[in-house]
Amino acid sequence: MDVYQNRLQGAVLLLPTVVVCLAFFYWPAWETIRLSRVRTIGGIQKIPVGWEHFTTLATSGAFQYSVAMSFVFAFIVVAGSMLIALYLSYLINEVSAGQSIYLVAAIFTYALSFAVTANIMDVLFNPTVGLFAEVLTIATGAVGVDFAFDYTTNPLWAWIFATGSTMWKMVGYNVIFMVAALSGIPESINETARLDGVGSLQMIVRVYVPMISPTLAFLAIVNTVNAFFLPFPVVQEISGGPSNTLNIMIYDIWQSYNNSVIGLASAKSLVLFAIIGLLTAFQLLLSDRFAHYGGT
């Protein structure tokens, strides 16, 4: 309700937010659009080339690979982390004692950064000095399986390393939402189902998931958007993996910036923006359908 009529005051209160948005979001985005239409040499010489970069990207097999892999990567980590989180959240919701402690233990990855994740996973999975790598090699060796736990030469293992680390990091965030959502489910449903002799798995799939589907939909989109650029440190840790198998868009863009090919890098980041923009818009629309943003 409008208590205050002084529009000037109101504008002043909004000013800091608006200024920051303009200065650090909109103007740079505009500049990036401008930059995507030039070719730079050494990052300085600028030759206008119109939409050339975009046509190059559209026909570039390497870029198409990059975009496709970004989606594959995102899909794997989102599905994986949400499944793990759902499992943990279900357990936490069902257990009758110690919930708060279990909850804190389950969400701790929320407090970590991807940079820290990348570093510690690298040390643990490092082919030469990593403890996990060595343990796995011994374990599989004992069973007669000869698998190269070397993410510098084995693309499959590089993928497992990158998606595994990312999934692990994303679990915390998902658990926060899922536990909150599950706790909102009325106890009576629980009771009834148990009395009916409904098994746990059935419970999860037939009852819980549909009941928290708005949350799950929200998480799916937010996680996907994040998966496109937040895991950058993990991919950087293994330099894109053998044969650049993990050359997802954010890593590819970084390479271009590092090579001072600013024009092309800007064009690539606009494509990334378009994808993220669409996903975000989709999420906003979806959540509007499921929830209420306070109307007008």
Binding site: G98, A106, S113, V116, R194, G197
Partner: protein
């Protein structure tokens, strides 16, 4: 039929429901076991990190078994004082704190304006703020650097933190929260002729403590964990933050000192983790508000 009863919802169940009984009896311990097991696996990398941080780097590269190592805390000493982590720690702290205070403070002002002021084009303004969510750092980073340079803010704390001051989610959540404050409270303020800032400080903020604490925690953790922007804008090692400093401990040229890196990692993750644990109540509440 004897031995059966009818439930209030009309279903029939036998007086002694063996399966339910059996399930109920074994259920809790099984749940606990499952939780303990999975959480142990989840925490394993961090547990290993802590253990390895006490080991000398030479030992790790011979990958002996996990256990508290011989170095004790000497890796920490070395990383803090020889590798400048003490400096990075301070910088990260100042950065995260500034971002948290800035984000929440400015969002409070914006939410105040959007909810309690008669302004035109409110929806538009809201969308204007919301849309920034679709513009992640990589899309803006090069021009952002140039702005900083033209303001003479590059390689400075102020240049580092100001881009983070706008938070669409904070504005949104606070706005939602303010709107849920009962009309009667607002009415009485109106009648009393309370000024906007007084209203904010003495009415709104006290009624939003949990949310503000939650937003603060979220913003602090987010700011502490930033990597790409500090990497680009800070040139001077003495102004660098932990995330970047940690990455630099693991160079591509020359051999990495694993024990040191793990110690650095522990230092880097400790503060946000402790904050999360301390403010977990408000944090959990606020985060999950986003779906409501």
């Amino acid at each position: 039929m004897a031995g059966q009863e009818q439930l209030s919802n009309g279903r029939i169940r036998s007086a002694v429901d063996i399966s339910a009984y059996r399930r109920g009896f074994a259920r809790q311990p099984v749940l606990h076991l499952a939780l303990l097991g999975s959480l142990f696996v989840l925490a394993l990398p961090v547990v290993m990190t802590v253990l390895m941080s006490t080991q000398p780097s030479v030992q790790i590269s011979s990958s002996t078994l996990a256990g508290v190592g011989s170095e004790g805390l000497s890796n920490y000493e070395r990383v803090l004082f020889e590798e400048d982590f003490a400096t990075y720690l301070f910088n990260s702290f100042v950065m995260a704190l500034s971002i948290a205070v800035g984000k929440v403070g400015i969002a409070l002002l914006a939410a105040l304006a959007l909810v309690y002021y008669d302004l035109p084009f409110k929806r538009l303004i809201l969308l204007f703020i919301l849309f920034t969510l679709a513009l992640p750092v990589p899309v803006r980073i090069v021009p952002m650097y140039e702005i900083m340079v033209s303001l003479d803010w590059e390689n400075s704390m102020i240049g580092l933190v100001t881009p983070y001051f706008a938070s669409a989610t904070s504005v949104l959540l606070l706005r939602q929260h303010f709107r849920s404050i009962s009309d009667s409270m607002v009415e009485s303020a109106k009648i009393d002729g309370v000024g906007p800032l007084k209203f904010l400080v003495f009415v709104l903020i006290p009624m939003s403590k949990s949310m503000i604490a939650g937003l603060f925690a979220i913003a602090f953790i987010w700011g502490w964990n930033q990597y790409l922007w500090p990497l680009i804008i800070i040139n001077d090692q003495s102004k660098q933050v932990l995330q970047v400093g940690l990455a630099q401990l693991n160079p591509t040229a020359g051999e990495a000192l694993w024990g040191l890196i793990m110690a650095g990692a522990v230092i880097t993750l400790l503060v946000p983790l402790l904050l999360m644990i301390a403010l977990r109540g408000p944090l959990l509440d606020t985060v999950s508000m986003q779906t409501k």
